[in-house]
Amino acid sequence: MNEPGAVVARDLVKVFAKGSVRALDGLSFEVEAGTVFGLLGPNGSGKTTAVRILSTILTPDEGSASILGNDVVKRAAVVRRSIGLAGQYATVDENLTGHENLRMVGRLSHLEKKAASTRADELLGQFGLADAANRTLKTYSGGMRRRLDLAAALVGRPPVLFLDEPTTGLDPQSRQDLWVVIEQLVGVGTTVLLTTQYLEEADRLAHQLLVIDHGKAIAEGTPAELKATLGTTVVSVTFADSATAERAVGLLDPLVAGSPILDGNSVDLTVEAGPKVAAEALRTLDQHQVEVAGLALREPSLDDVFLSLTGHRSEGLEFDEPEQGGDHKAAPTPGYIGFDENLAGR
């Protein structure tokens, strides 16, 4: 057996009294030291609850968890010295300056005054906030706040870092910048537990992924493995309207091992032999006089993985904030193979 992971969660259950919601319903996972572990799931799937239990903010109703071998309930005080938490909502004090915020966290992490101040200076420099060090946070942009929030999580040089949707709501450039920093941190040995709704983010950063829905694990593996479980290619056929698409589902069903996935005007087939199935699909549809508006072949995205596992899209911020996301599912991804509208009229 390998040595136990840096973060271990065992059968975690958390029920919130109001509405008796089972936020976590027997969640277990293990994070290997020095890696990035991605918890992937839609809003309300239990990601944040898991992070709050692991960071000692909440206690689990059932099950147990440990950080570097220390139980999060019984040895919470020790755990708090070995973790850093950066949240979805940059939790920094708006009325303090950047330097004051970091110094406060340093003092509350029990650094001596001088050490807290030095560490604050260093981190502000590291995160490109030196010029804004003595400005109150009211003058900071969203991206600057997130960087300061991450800096605050690093004040105590924690070996384990929890990043709860660290880039939600950020513009693409700020997201890229944060990703680079996270990669740097992992490069020097930090263990990272990342929650995200952004499939692109999980794909880029995580070594291991756990997909959760309704507080339960529904799939685990590397990003590549999860994508491989689905076949190698997605054939996406688009129609003029959703009624036509619904009709096509029945016709295309025999072509796939699983079932075709209907999404508005389009039907997705996840298959091994993309081009062959695409040709067959067009032939079948043509025979039944179903007009095709478009056809695309692409590599399955994690969104496809999610859809096939949960039966619903990773509905949530990614689609609520098109102005910030820039990674909408319909946009061509690096796995994009080809799109030819003329194929339909062949």
Binding site: R80, G125, A151, P159, V188
Partner: protein, 275 residues
């Protein structure tokens, strides 16, 4: 340009020094943080001071002429000011509920919970900062009182004892308002919940009029409720004469300590439960 050492510590850092030292340090840090925030929004302090000044002017010049102190030789402004001091510090306790509700709403408390700091420091720092703020406000109100004719008729030492007693009461009250702040969904609601509690306590009291002028059924409440006891204690110490009453001074201390004994554990329990 400076850069930070991003390498994690291999073993969790253990802070040197005694636990008590760090508890006090945590409370001091949180107090500092709340006081710095206060200086960053000076308009809030300005309006917090303006309101009691308006009350002074209102009662001194508008209503005061029609109110009899009931004690020969005691002017209404002398009767009024100890009441104003108590009312002002009680209203100041609202900032405890607003401040905590705000921290909770903004997620700051989440961050504090994941830090190795003392759990009680969030509440301790908040209430201590509000206490410091009240010291400042009472000093200003004393100055305003002097400008409109108030005079301490005992001595400065007894006045200070009176101030300590009313500040202690406000401090105890802060812990009660901490409970409200921790259970309110946001700062606005915390404020809205606080005033219906404060109004009857401060106005149906001996702060502005002698209780004997009230209808009988109200007197029963107004005589024994804590704000009246504290106001009477403050008058005893600041005005003396007919107002001298050791019973009220002891009563005020008893109320404050009693409230602390009940409210501190209640607030701490509420803090632990609030997630």
């Amino acid at each position: 340009m400076t850069t930070a050492d991003l390498r994690p510590l291999s073993a969790p850092a253990v802070a040197p020094g005694h636990r008590l030292k760090w508890l006090l340090s945590d409370v001091a840090t949180m107090t500092w943080r709340n006081l710095v925030a206060l200086t960053r929004i000076p308009e809030s302090l300005f309006f917090a001071t303006l309101q009691p000044i308006m009350f002074v002017l209102l009662f001194r010049f508008v209503f005061g002429g029609a109110i009899s102190t009931g004690v020969p030789g005691v002017t209404y402004v002398d009767f009024l000011m100890p009441g104003i001091f108590v009312q002002t510090v009680c209203f100041g306790a609202v900032s405890t509920s607003i401040g905590l509700a705000d921290d909770l709403q903004k997620g700051l408390i989440e961050r504090f919970r994941a830090l190795p700091m003392a759990r009680s420091a969030v509440l301790g720092g908040r209430t201590t900062a509000d206490l410091v703020r009240n010291v400042f406000v009472v000093a200003i109100m004393t100055g305003v009182g002097y400008l409109v004719g108030f005079r301490i008729t005992t001595n400065f030492f007894l006045y200070l004892v009176g101030v300590v007693i009313l500040l202690l009461f406000a401090y105890a009250l802060s812990w009660g308002f901490a409970c409200i702040g921790l259970s309110a969904p946001n700062a606005e609601t915390a404020q809205v919940i606080s005033f219906p509690i404060l109004f009857p306590l401060t106005f149906a009291s001996s702060a502005f009029v002698p209780v004997s002028s009230m209808p009988g059924w109200l007197q029963a409440f107004a005589t024994y409720q804590p704000v009246s006891v504290v106001v009477d204690a403050a008058r005893s110490l600041m005005l003396g004469g007919a107002y001298t009453s050791t019973r009220h001074v002891l009563g005020a201390l008893a109320w404050s300590l009693g409230l602390l004994v009940v409210l501190v554990p209640l607030a701490v329990r509420q803090y632990r439960r609030t997630a």
